[in-house]
């Protein structure tokens, strides 16, 4: 009995606090929005929220893992943009679509790995390094595609119907009226959350995020974990970029821009501290849904992009203040 009580307390006082706050906020937002915006509670709207959420969710997946080990990956938006136009470019060539997709995914993973290796060598500089890699990547990608067509930055080609069906708003999943990407994302969430909590690899994230030296003594290779997270981040970013191509039907390098800080916002609002060792993808999923529902709500209220940004910013502060306040320096001594 008392044991159960303490275990409940342990649950509450741990990182799950942010999870609970997040879910509460999500519920409140949904209720308020459904009551105040007509048509918000429609299946149509739910579908589009979930669709956009899956994009953000995938983009923020890598960011979450990277943050758990105390890193940051700002190359995500550039990776998204680059994969987006490069895949469009490949669709325009004689390369079979599936192969093209594989190539881009591989590219994503390798760029991620590169990020991982370099930022591992450059401890504490991950933010700026990934930014540099991102700049280079997106610049190179645009130059590359420009040589093909004279349209730099945008690439045109026939996107295979089956591919755009995956992530188009009118896509169908086994005849059901929502695009497969939503299902894919949901599956990925379950899988990843289980991994993080139940598997060695998952726990290794927190070990490294919490105390690198101690982890090394338990022969948990910080290098492998660190590089691994960045590799996944690069991979998921490139997948997001490719899915966005299916969504919009034409390659545009700018599609990633919106994800530069939004992924970080989703991670942070969810409750993964950027310092590493805490949080998890479950938290991020909540963060993603909160942001997406909020967007839809604000648009419904007729607020434009500008106002949305402001509200996001205003949301981050109290959320973080609620669960991620550092103890007063007195108590860190």
């Amino acid at each position: 009995m008392s044991a159960r009580k303490t275990s409940a307390k342990a649950f509450l006082q741990s990182d799950n606090k942010s999870l609970i706050i997040g879910i509460a906020l999500l519920i409140v937002l949904t209720l308020v929005a459904s009551l105040s915006v007509e048509g918000f509670a429609s299946t149509n709207n739910a579908r589009s929220i979930l669709l956009l959420a899956s994009f953000l969710g995938l983009a923020a997946l890598g960011q979450t893992l990277v943050a758990t080990v105390g890193g940051l990956d700002l190359s995500i938006p550039f990776m998204i943009g680059a994969s987006n136009i490069l895949l469009a470019y490949l669709f325009g060539t004689s390369v079979p679509p599936v192969l093209g997709i594989a190539i881009i995914a591989l590219l994503g993973a390798s760029i991620g790995t590169l990020n991982g290796i370099l930022s591992y060598r450059l401890q504490g500089q991950a933010l700026i390094l990934t930014l540099g890699v991102g700049f280079s990547l997106v610049g190179a990608a645009q130059i590359f595609t420009t040589f093909g067509s004279q349209y730099s930055g945008t690439v045109f080609s026939q996107v295979p119907a089956w591919f755009s069906n995956i992530s188009a708003i009118n896509g169908k999943t086994f005849g059901m009226p929502f695009p497969p990407v939503v299902l894919i994302w949901a599956g990925l969430c379950v899988f990843l959350i289980l991994c993080i909590h139940r598997s060695r690899a998952g726990r290794a994230l927190y070990a490294v995020g919490g105390n690198r030296t101690a982890a090394a003594l338990l022969s948990i290779s910080e290098f492998k974990v660190w590089v691994g997270t960045y590799m996944i981040s690069g991979l998921t970013a490139s997948i997001t970029g490719m899915l966005l191509l299916g969504f919009s039907g034409g390659g545009f390098v700018g599609v990633g821009d919106a994800y530069l800080f939004t992924t970080v916002a989703a991670v942070v609002v969810g409750g993964t501290s950027l310092l590493g060792g805490s949080g998890g993808y479950g938290a991020t999923v909540v963060g993603v849904l909160v942001l997406q529902v909020l967007t839809s709500f604000l648009v419904g209220l007729g607020l434009n992009y500008a106002a949305q940004q402001t509200v996001f910013g205003l949301l981050i502060l109290p959320m973080v203040a609620l669960y991620a306040r550092a103890p007063h320096i007195r108590y860190q001594i």
Partner: protein, 524 residues
Amino acid sequence: MTAISVRNISKNFGETRALRDASLEASFAEIHAIVGENGSGKSTLAKIISGIVLADGGDVDVLGHRPNSPTEAIAIGVSTIFQEMMLAESLTIWENVFAGSDSFWKRSSSVAEKKRQTKEILERLADCPIDPDWPVSAVPLSVKQWIVISRALLQKPKVLVFDESSAALDLDATSRLHHEMLELKASGTAVIIVTHRIAELVKFADQATVLRDGVTVGKIGREEMTEENLLRLMSATTGHSARAASKEPVFVGERHPLLEASNIGLTDGAQGFDFNLHPGQIVGIAGLDGAGQAEFVRILAGIDKAPQGRVTVRDDTGMMQAISNLSDAEANRIAYVSGDRKKEGIFANLSIMENFGLALYGRHSNAAGVIDQKALREVFDREKDRLSIKFGHRQDKITTLSGGNQQKVLIARAFALAPRIIILNDPARGVDIGTKQDLYTHLRAFAAGGGAVIYLSTEIEEFFNFADRADVFFEGHLFASFEQDRIGEESILGAMFGQSEPVDMSEALEQELPSNIQPQATAS
């Protein structure tokens, strides 16, 4: 006249009641010790005196003030040396020594003057050449310790609070330190010292305030200050002295060494030395700070690679296997426990259970890497009872435990790996006497079961009646080796300072073997 008088202090950290009813009276020109087990509230009390922690209740009077911040405390003449060394590693030595000496707008003295003073005081204290422009990250631990001490001394404090740090000073350094304290005392300063080194304490403290579970359970004056008294007060339970570990018979095993290190050189080109370890043996490792003993045990544990020479272990089939990295060590069931919990031990972000379990996931997870929580929990319950670890719930964060209990979790983790060799690197550092006694007993039992123990310590009295052999390092190599009855303060100290003849290791091994085969002979 009294410099400090704090009465009936209480302080809670969330759930933890760090102090419940702590009082302390200290007058000028006295050395006043605060003693108590881990987590008994010493540091907290010290932090209250130096304005870091604010008491929840009770009255604080430090030099007639109630300091609310370190800034205030320093202003009124209270200097503090914290348990954890406060250093800006990336800055230079002089900048660290004079940290905070200036006001916001005005320098206390010129840079050149600061460097001069830094050089002067550090070379006196650390007695080695110092360049004030070195970055702190470039100097060894002992010098770092001296840097924080000099910072405090240069503040010319009326009250000096010294929370004994986890960083060990070697013996003559310690005596130099004590000398400094005595000088301060002579100059009228009130010196408050928090330490676990009871034996030394007794030699030079005038007063001692004893804490137990955040309550002041006694104040002992010079005359009745004996280890026995202190220890009795400190812990209701453990009434015995640091040296009084009763020795069970040791394992009688096969003559072949379990671990062999041959021609080891800690720097390449160094003249190599050999080392071996037999089943059932407990080998103590000693040496002045920086004499190479720490590097050596890390090499044995497979953490670092030996610049020269090789380490081999006899596996179950009797084959000798080379140890060159952690996975070799793991494969050959060598476990390592570091004394530097915060840096190399605990995961402050994780629960007690996970801190224990992390090492075992490899063993208790299936091919897909899925962890068998149930099996782990069983192991945990077994080990926690064995080491009698005190905690609330196994899912609580490990930082809710006191340092000593954190250490026990780490040792339990090592035992849980069912190792054949345990290597402990100063595990009792900052750990109270009761915990130490438990630890010795467990290690003894482990050895009796056929395991072997390598035990590095900065407090040589830990070896007495505990180690079967004490190997002493001097200037980067194994300098001398002593059998159980030859293990003594004088012999070891001497060797640590390079006195007495270097023992020819080869013959040392000769005479060692028999004693190892019939330990009873010497024991009875």
